[in-house]
């Protein structure tokens, strides 16, 4: 029967187990992942099972790396995520965190848009490092994402995104993530996508400032093509800052919504 070892199809006998295959293919593997889960005792293999054999600390060949990167994924989703294309509008606290999560899960193509450079006050919530200060956010984030997952396509646009150019820049994506800071820009891009880009879904965010409760940040489905994340009210303003934990909670609501939409889960 057929099973997949490190994403490659191989033929095995019907009564073979995970550890028997390890013995034959990679004896020194000390991490055995079966269908997304690390096993600590031997298991009988079934047709089309996915097995990853990893030696802790060893840098794998490029050929094996992509399979290992997704070996903890729920089986069957990698192929779907790899075909998807997502546009991220704004690479600040929301956008940089969304991009990192989507790169980690292997979303096939990301289009990253921002006109700004990294500055020190970004580092309290955005995914940049001190060495990126002064660098274009598009270039800095691309560098980070390539270090996380070199197998995804990344396109960058160092422009000010607004209603005049969003249609052309995001013409080929499946889903658009609204990740701006300014509420006028948030409303403009969302309205433009909803009225002029009828095959796109927009995943927007509003209300994630401060250190209020985790549990007021929610995901709402406003229309079939408009998902909104946040607590609706916590505005960044004088006396109320923006900090990594709550911004990243909202960003990862956005990232998980994007993943669910790619996988056909349209409800919140």
């Amino acid at each position: 029967m057929n099973v997949f070892v490190n994403e490659k199809s191989i033929e095995i006998e019907n009564n073979e187990t995970a550890y028997m295959v390890r013995e034959r293919i990679k004896k020194d593997a000390d991490i055995v992942v079966l269908n997304g889960f690390i096993i600590n005792e031997d298991k009988m293999l079934k047709e089309n099972d996915k097995l990853s054999l990893i030696k802790r600390g060893e840098i794998p060949s490029e050929e094996d790396l992509e399979g290992f990167l997704v070996s903890r994924h729920t089986p069957g989703i990698h192929e779907k995520l790899k075909k998807a294309s997502v546009g991220i509008a704004g690479l600040g606290g929301l956008g940089s965190n969304v991009a990192v999560s989507l790169a980690r899960i292997g979303v096939g193509k990301l289009i990253l848009v921002d006109f700004d450079v990294v500055e020190p006050s970004n580092l309290n919530r955005q995914q940049y490092f001190i060495r990126h200060i002064g660098m274009k956010k598009t270039e800095a984030l691309k560098e980070i994402l390539k270090e996380i997952n070199p197998f995804i396509k990344i396109e960058t646009k160092d422009v000010y995104l607004d209603k005049s150019n969003v249609k052309s820049i995001f013409s080929d994506v499946d889903i658009i993530v609204e990740a701006f800071d300014n509420p006028k820009c948030k409303a403009e891009i969302t309205t433009t996508v909803l009225t002029q880009m009828e095959d796109k879904i927009v995943v927007a965010a509003s209300g994630m400032a401060g250190y209020f409760s985790n549990n007021t940040i929610v995901t709402k489905k406003v229309t079939d093509r408009f998902y909104l994340i946040g607590d609706d009210i916590s505005e960044a303003k004088i006396g109320c800052g923006l900090m990594a934990p709550r911004v990243a909670i909202a960003a990862n609501h956005q990232a998980n919504t994007v993943m669910r939409l790619i996988l056909g889960e349209m409800d919140v």
Partner: protein, 64 residues
């Protein structure tokens, strides 16, 4: 009319722009859906609301 799921009373002939003013909302920071159709802000002053209308107003706050 029904606004964000709640029944509300307004004067006859009110348009979307006037309604936003009554709620103290800026036309630049909202997404407005009228009877399941998103309305661009250029049309806010032209569209007069009536009592059968179902309106959703999403008002964005800053931060990201």
């Amino acid at each position: 009319m029904i606004i964000n799921g709640k029944n509300m009373e307004f004067d006859n002939g009110i348009n979307i722009m006037e309604l936003l003013k009554k709620f103290n909302l800026s036309e630049d920071k909202v997404v407005v859906e009228l009877n399941y159709e998103i309305i661009p802000k250029e049309k806010f002053s032209q569209i007069v609301l009536n009592k059968e209308d179902k309106l959703e107003i999403v008002s964005f706050v800053g931060g990201g």
